[in-house]
């Protein structure tokens, strides 16, 4: 908080006038990170297929997290602290619900999707950060590396969506 205040050229007490503590400030940051959407984003209500809506919400969330250094870490800590907007889960749950799933199944699926998204992007961002710090100077590859991280991410989301589809066909 002291370094942030110095960078803003204000007294630390000025920050505490807006936020009771660092966690609350990070939670506000997390809410803004996940809410960001590209210019011209029209939402997913216009998509005919619920599966496309889930894929689009998940991809938009990944992009939003990737846009900020440590985005996945800030968001996951905030969620673990019980802070931050429930909107992150709710968006995914609404997209799933369009497939005709009940509220509980939609919520649990959204939670599973979010764990996958945070796990995936957190790995991508850790790799980027280690690389920029020169820790990977030896060019160590990770067993989790992918030539095309966006395609690998979409593959995982497709498995989760496919699992939902299969469960529906069996009802």
């Amino acid at each position: 908080m002291r370094r942030l205040a110095a960078a803003l050229d204000v007294q630390p007490s000025a920050l505490y006038w807006h936020f009771p503590n660092k966690q609350t400030l990070l939670a506000e940051l997390a809410d803004r990170i996940v809410a960001a959407r590209p210019a011209g984003w029209a939402g997913t209500d216009g998509l005919d297929d619920w599966r496309d809506a889930v894929r689009a919400e998940a991809a938009a969330l990944r992009d939003a997290l990737l846009a900020y250094r440590d985005g996945a870490e800030v968001v996951s800590s905030t969620l673990a602290l019980g802070l931050g907007s429930p909107e992150t889960v709710d968006r995914l749950a609404r997209a799933v619900a369009r497939g005709g799933f009940d509220a509980e199944t939609s919520r649990r699926s959204a939670t599973a999707l979010l764990h996958f998204v945070l796990g995936h992007v957190s790995h991508e961002q850790q790799r980027l950060q280690y690389d920029s710090l020169g820790v990977l100077a030896g060019g160590e590859s990770s067993p989790l590396d992918e030539d095309d991280p966006a395609a690998a991410f979409a593959f995982g989301v497709d498995l989760l969506v496919g699992g939902l589809e299969l469960s529906r066909s069996r009802r």
Copy 2:
């Protein structure tokens, strides 16, 4: 490293005789964490159904991570550094391959499973740690909380397994 040496009552240089740096020591720790299996664990080769094998490997990995504080964080940092054994991914990939999937699909699915497992357990462990530190004194709930974390975890694994099953039925 200095604190660890003090706890072991040896000079820090003694640790460096075994490990060139802290990352290598943590990687060895990560390998031991993920390799742990409960007493009497007979592996998954004896299971008739590949889906049960995937479920059992994923659940065993979650249990192994939960057995150590910050287990998920130690393992994911190690993987991001390109250190640690590829065995963590390979076990899951072998279980998937038993369903008749090609090597590339098995590897990509194992990677997706691992991101889900690390995302899920990392959330569980962050919650536990914040709770033990008294940070959640107000009893803040997280939108990702589940009454039964093991069941929520199994639900997510089942979606991923179901997605694989659906993709197979469409080939």
